[in-house]
Every structure is written in C-alpha cells, then in structure tokens.
Amino acid sequence: MSGPSTYEPQTGFTRWLDTRLPILRLMNDTMTTFPTPRNLNFWYGFGAVLTAMLGIQIVTGIVLAMHYVPNSTMAFDSVENIMRDVNYGWLLRYMHANGASFFFIAVYIHIFRNLYYGSYKAPREVLWILGVLIYVLMIVTAFMGYVLPWGQMSFWAATVITNLFTSFDQISHFFAPHMKVGIGTDIAYWIWGDFAVSNATLNRFFSLHYLLPFVIAGVVGLHIWALHVPGNNNPLGIDVKGPQDTVPFHPYYTVKDAWILSMFLIVYAVVVFYAPDVLGNPDNYTPANPLVTPPDIVPDWYLLPFYAMLRSIPQKLVGVLVLFGALITLFFIPWLDTSKVRSARFRPVFKIFFWIFFVDALLLGYLGSQSVDATFPYLGLPDVWLARFATAYYYAFFWIVMPLGFLEKPKPLPATIATAVLGKNAAAAE
C-alpha cells in the first residue's frame, strides 16, 4: 500500500531539503496522498481521536507537573493548590483526569472495532501487537497517574495493585521453601523502594508517569508505520485491489476524522466542565492515610473488568495469573483466529459471539464496581459467581471460539470495495 512515493518538491528549498532530510516527502506520503479504502466508517475515526487525546494528556500533564509536588506530605496539598490558586489549574487538572478516561473510551472503541472487522489478521499482526503494547502502556501510565494525587483511593489502589506481585511468593516457596523472603515480596519491595507504599513509591511513580507517555508516543509512531505498510483494513475486510478502491487520505479522511474528533471533544467537554468528578471516587478527595482502609477499594472504571476477574478467584496466585493472562491473551489473537474471513459482517456465527463478548466485558466492568459480597439484581446470583462465568467466557472467546473459526461457513464476499460501495456499474464507470 505504501508503494512508490508520489511527492514532487515544488520550490528550490523543498528540493534542497528533500535530498537531505525527506521529511516533507514522509509527511506527504503518510498524511496526504496515502491511499485509504473508500469505505471506512465512523468507527475508523478513533485512531485520530486517540492521537489527539495523547497530545492533550501530554500538554496538560507537562503544565500540571510544573505545579505538582511528588512528595507524600505535599502531593495532595499541591493538587488542591492547582485547583484553587493556579490560573486555570482546575481546567488543566479536570482535562487531564477526565482525559485519561476519554483516552480509554476511545481505545476501547478502537479495540472492539478491530475485533469486529478482524483487523488483527495477516498482514496486520505486528500492527495489532503494537496496539496491544500501547494499551498495556496506557494501563500502567494511568495507574501511576491515579496514584499521584495521593488521596485515599490513590494510596490503597497502589497498595492493592503492587501487592499482586507478592502472590509470586507461592512460586518461589514451591521451589525454594527455605527462602525467608519470597520472590514476589522482593519484587514488591523493589517497586515500592521501601517496605510499603511510601514517599519513595510516589516519587518513582511520578518519574515513570512522566516518562511513559513519551514511550507511548514512540510506539504510536511504530504503530502508524506498521499501518502504512499493509494499509487500512476496512469494514468489508477484503483487500484493496486497485486505485478505484481507495481515496487519498487528505482531504477525504482528514475532514472525516476532524469531524469525528470534534464530536468526541463535545462529549469530553461536557464531562470536564459539567461533571468533572462523575468518573472519580469521592474517597480520593480525602488525603492518603495508611492507617484507615476504605471499605471498598476500586480502581478507575477502565480497569474494572480486570479487577472483577481478579476478585472472582479465591486463590491469590491464580487470580493474578488470570488477570495478567487476560491481557497477554490479546497478543496472540492474530494466530488464535483461524477464519480466513476478516470482517464479522460475513461471519454470522462469530458476530453473535462477538456481541456476547462485548456485553461480557461491560458486565465484568459492572461487577468490578460492586462490593465483593454483592448479589446481582434479578438473578439472585452472587456477583462473584457471575464474575467467574464472565471471566470464563472472556477466555473462551479467545481460546475456543476464535480457534474454531475455520468451522464457520462465511457469507460470500464482494469482489472489490468499489463494487460493494458504488454498485457494479458505477465502479466500472470510475
């Protein structure tokens, strides 16, 4: 898809620059003339939204870092100082805190769209893996960011999540029962920089929270590079056969992406300006207190499905492995799905399983937000059992449904994108 470059420098300076640093050629080929399938729908606009959200997070974050103090005795006060005394500090902080949520809303739409249209399949395996890597980096970055205000939820979420590693003690205890301190506890000490979550932990989380977005930006560069070799997948999931199937990226998709981004920003602005705390937890407006444990410790909403999986399993090590496994599974999807057809539009059976999976993910999120001993309304089933079934389906979708994809008889595929979009005659006329 990348094909030979069509860039022709027009002025003396651009000709001079092109033979020394062909950056204008790169921009032209990737953002202007790049041939893009003509049938990309609304859901393909979220790549642009994600790029914009990364930019917003980095810009607001850099300014917040000018005022924030990464010290356990001053962090909470410095955040309140930003809210009250820094000019437009409230705007920066609300944009940043809610920006994380909207970043995740966009990434979940982006991921589900890829699952639906089979965009992870050959030749886009590396593109998909880089995407999953970005998602994992986002989770780590967001978790560390959640710790920085040093409220009650910050402190206790940090304690719960970092303590996951202590479950690995069971492994080292199995192989080396004489060791006093298990390997998991050693890892936790190493992460904390202390024997508990403390000032040292806060300090390093701040450092990493500042670093990782730039790592994400780097992987996003690779992700876009990997996109521009095979080109975009599309809702039909069939390959581009020729120029009649594509339009240049600019102006066709620049304008469409800008429109989708603008509408996304409206929803974002409504939350930032009119409900800035609706996605947060009131407990995080109480300064961290290691002596008082909140009754319910919950992560931010975007991690709730994984939290539900963790809590549904009584054996700690198994729970942690199930949690990590749920993420690691995503890396293998390109080889788990055995269907030759990409798009769920032509896979009637897979489509049903996909929508069940979508509901399953939402259900896990809901269950993660409830207290541990809650009972699911209407069913009278304890939440923890429902979470077990939902976790089982999460794994079954990837490790049973997808590998059995070859059994499904797909619907007939259209010959080309152009015939599907324009009808046979119009395609011939073009």
Partner: protein
C-alpha cells in the same frame, strides 16, 4: 478433655449471648442522602446564591468552626468573583477578626512565644487561611471524645452525595428506632454509615440569627451551610460552567462546519 472443655465453653457462650441478644442493633447501613433539595448551583447554568453563601459562612463561623477547620480556604477568596460576593474591605475585616499564630518571618522580630510560653498571635490578613480550631490532631481528639472532626474545605467532594449528604447529616439527627442501641458517646444519625456519629447535633432552630432576616430554622441553616461548603470545595465552579458553555458552543459550530465540509468533499465518493 481440653477439646470437650472448649466445645462446652463455646456452647455456653453461644447460649448466653443468644439470651443477652434481645435483638438490639448498634449499627445499620446509612439511608441514602435526601435528594429532594434543590440547589442554585445545580445544572449547566447553576451559580452560587451570594446571600445564601454569606449566610452559610455565618453558620460555619458561629457553629461549625468551633470544631472543624477550613484549612484550604484563604480569606482573599471571600471577595473573589464567583464566590460570596464580599468586598475587599469586608474580606479584610473578616480576616482581621481571626488570630493567626506568629511565624518567624513576620512582624514580631521572630518571637514566637511570649514570656509565659504562650504562642504569640497576630491579626489575620487576606493572605492568610482560616486558622484551625485546634493546634493539632491530638488536641482535636482530646476535645471531642477521641473523634477527629474532619476538615471541611473539600468535605462535599469527599462524600458521595456532596451537598445533599452534608444537608442530610445536619438534619438527620432523629430518635433512634426502639431496637437500636446508640453506642456510648455517640449520637444517632440515620444518614451516617453505621448510624453512630461522634458529632453532637450541631444545629437547632435559631442557632444562628441572620442579619437579612432569613428564616433560621434547622433546615434553612443546614441548607445554607451546605451551599457554603460546596463553594469552599469548588470555588471556581461558576468560571468553569461559563467557560464550558463557550467551549461547547464553539465545538458544536465547528462540528456542523466540519460535517458540511465532509459532505461536500465526499459528495461524489459514496
């Protein structure tokens, strides 16, 4: 033998406690906060009611501040736009009414304690923050039966329900149900988790007299101080909602223009 003794002891305790347990309870889940109260600051065009904030401030000053600090609120915010609407002179006068502990770098030649060892104080200025009622946590607990009165600066952001919650707590001191046993030194409040609250009922009808002649029954006092505490936690709310309106109108217009451009550019490609 030991096991048998243990079993019989456990059985005895079980029987005894069953006999003692005359179905009284000393803890219950809280009722959800009252929602049927409307606030001027709700909704996209919500704004603070200046007179109400000033009345609420009076309630805080005359009642709450005996035990609760307001550490994050500075006197200079009393005359800021979008707040209580005091003039700078009024804010200065309010500040001057408070005694602030002397610091080494301020006026008193670095002298922190007088000849009897008492901390030297000075009159507050608008650069100061509301001083706490107790010098430290231990003093606060000692004066309050071991309980720590929380700082009120962001109390409404720190509690689910916000202003509704604070209003409910202040008006939620009712007679406990017959089978409810209030713990010693505690008070029954149906909106408090567990329903045993350490705070004695702070407000009564007429505990504050408002200069503007507003009603001063307990409901009005609670509502006014809940509104004041909303401002204390979100002093930039009016600015936020105003700016948000402009931003959203801008984005709506931009979206329409981008949609029309999109239709125009794509008209022969669909």
């Amino acid at each position: 033998m030991r096991i048998a003794l243990g079993v019989s002891l456990a059985a005895f305790i079980g029987l005894a406690s069953a006999a003692i347990a005359d179905n009284t309870v000393s803890t219950l889940p809280a009722e959800p906060p009252k929602e049927d109260v409307s606030w001027s600051f709700e909704g996209p065009f919500g704004h603070y009611d200046r007179a109400q904030l000033q009345r609420g401030f009076q309630v805080y000053k005359e009642v709450c501040s005996a035990c609760h600090s307001l550490n994050r609120v500075a006197f200079h915010t009393l005359d800021e736009p979008g707040g209580l609407g005091f003039t700078e002179e009024q804010a200065k006068a309010i500040a001057a009414g408070y005694k602030i502990p002397e610091e080494p770098n301020s006026t008193n030649k670095g002298q922190l304690y007088d000849s009897s060892g008492t901390r030297v104080t000075r009159a507050g200025t608008i650069a100061d923050y509301f001083p706490p009622p107790f010098p430290n946590e231990e003093a606060a607990r000692a004066a309050n039966n071991g309980a720590l009165p929380p700082d009120l600066s962001i109390i409404e952001k720190a509690r689910a329900g916000g202003a509704h919650y604070v209003f409910s707590i202040l008006t939620g001191f009712v007679k406990p149900p017959a089978n409810f046993k209030v713990l010693p030194g505690k008070y029954y409040n149906k909106y408090f988790e567990g329903r045993n609250i350490s705070m004695p009922p702070p407000l009564t009808d007429g505990s504050v007299t408002f200069s503007d002649g507003s009603p001063n029954d307990i409901e009005h006092e609670a509502k006014d101080v809940a509104a004041f505490l909303q401002w204390a936690g979100e002093p930039k709310m009016e600015q936020r909602k105003q700016l948000g309106f402009g931003v959203i109108v801008f984005l709506l217009v931009l979206s329409v223009l981008l949609y029309l451009s999109y239709r125009r550019i794509w008209h022969d490609k669909h």
